[in-house]
Symmetry: C2
Subunit: 257 residues, 2 copies
């Protein structure tokens, strides 16, 4: 087989490298064929042991989208071409099981290991959906904020046991063109054989902090003074309502230990 050089530009790499999240869309619905293409693309991702342990819910009901916009306080939850909610789903694997078998599967399904697997399956599928949408000229944004009131979202979507929502993806015709955001230096993310020492990481992150401060300071929209580390340290220091999530997950039979 003839392997193209890694310098050969191809549409896949250019789509990947040009990714930016889009938070403002034109007022145009996705066509049913576009939605189908995006979902079929999502389905083609690999999944752990071919379990396909995820589900996708398209939210089209205007009342539900409005409510979710109010919960998240983000306009693009409502104003988009289509809104997908990606869920980790271990429920489908139990559908054809006899009652006793369901009992026998319980320990495995409710393990932290299998919850993690389902989350990975869902996210692999989601990234295919993002790239498929972008290849059609559409923009996307992945939103964890749809879980802000996770019980309400669960109720809205009628999710059974072993199904939990992870994030939304809003898709639509872009009505903005933000810059591509500089990522961490490659050597702060990729290591050979062993994780880097703390001293090495400190140096790389410090250099990135300076780069990203410059980017935030000069970018055309939403410019601010901040570094990558400082922004996250301040956010993570705040008290988050985390026990509610844990209680919710327990109730769904997910992520217990």
């Amino acid at each position: 087989m003839n392997i193209p050089s890694s310098n050969t530009p191809n549409e896949v790499l250019s789509t990947i490298m040009n990714h930016r999240s889009i938070r403002k869309f034109k007022d145009e619905r996705l066509k049913p064929a576009q939605i189908e293409t995006i979902v079929r693309a999502a389905q083609m991702a690999a999944s752990s042991s071919f379990m396909q342990a995820y589900s996708i819910i398209g939210l089209t009901d205007p009342a539900l989208k409005r409510e979710l916009r109010e919960i998240t306080n983000t306009p693009y939850v409502e104003e988009n071409g289509h809104l997908f909610i990606f869920c980790a789903d271990l429920q489908r694997l139990t559908i054809m099981a006899a009652e006793q078998e369901k009992q026998d599967m319980k320990a495995t399904l409710e393990s932290s290991a299998f919850c993690q697997i389902a989350i990975v399956d869902a996210a692999l599928a989601a990234q295919n959906a993002v790239l498929a949408a972008e290849s059609l000229g559409l923009g996307t944004v992945i939103m964890g904020s749809v879980r802000k009131d996770i019980r309400r979202l669960d109720e809205m979507l009628g999710l059974p046991e072993y199904v939990i929502p992870l994030f939304g993806i809003a898709v639509g015709v872009p009505d903005q063109q933000p810059e591509v955001k500089p990522r961490l230096p490659l050597d702060a993310v990729y290591f050979e054989n062993r994780y880097a020492s703390e001293a090495e990481q400190r140096e790389r992150i410090d250099s990135y902090d300076r780069e990203i401060s410059q980017y935030y300071h000069t970018r055309s929209e939403n410019n601010r003074q901040d570094s990558w580390s400082r922004q996250h340290i301040e956010r993570l220091k705040m008290k988050h309502p985390l026990t509610e999530m844990t209680d919710y997950l327990h109730g769904k039979g997910m992520s217990v230990n």
Copy 2:
């Protein structure tokens, strides 16, 4: 903006739709430029609040690869063009924090919600890596089995607190061409506004079980008699060594509730 019709073939969609996992590679190392392209592609995926909460470790040490092959009992862990281990990583966010700040971040970092976020970030990046590799004519397989002895893998890679390995991706020049595996029917995975009823799901999965039995029965390699549901029910009924994973995660400060 001119949106291509969703029927317009493009390289991104054809790469996505032609995915199959490759478990047999030619004896050819990836070139450094190919590795760099794959990692840079991974980095371009979206991440939650731009946390970039993952790390990637390239395993090139022959002794480590040999050991991992023995642990997983899969030849392609050793025999590939390159082996990436993808990790969820919340450690990097703490590097520039003062000691007291690290204490203040603890509750958030050790929450189930943030563990999930880091897993999602890692998997989004991983799917970009897979597609980038495939766009270069390479094949890939994602392997959860590298976690079979997760403590040993952690030790090999020298992973600090808040970093856990999720899966490996073996990449290389394909030395096999398996069929594309039929996925679940679209309507068993994608719903509008509400999750489907159990009766609806049962019907769709039953039809898929018949389809996949036919596929397993007629495919060129590794043919067998099995249905999708039965295969997973039997596997999930077995006792898995799950508490070890939970203990490990606790020790790393991840996924506690």
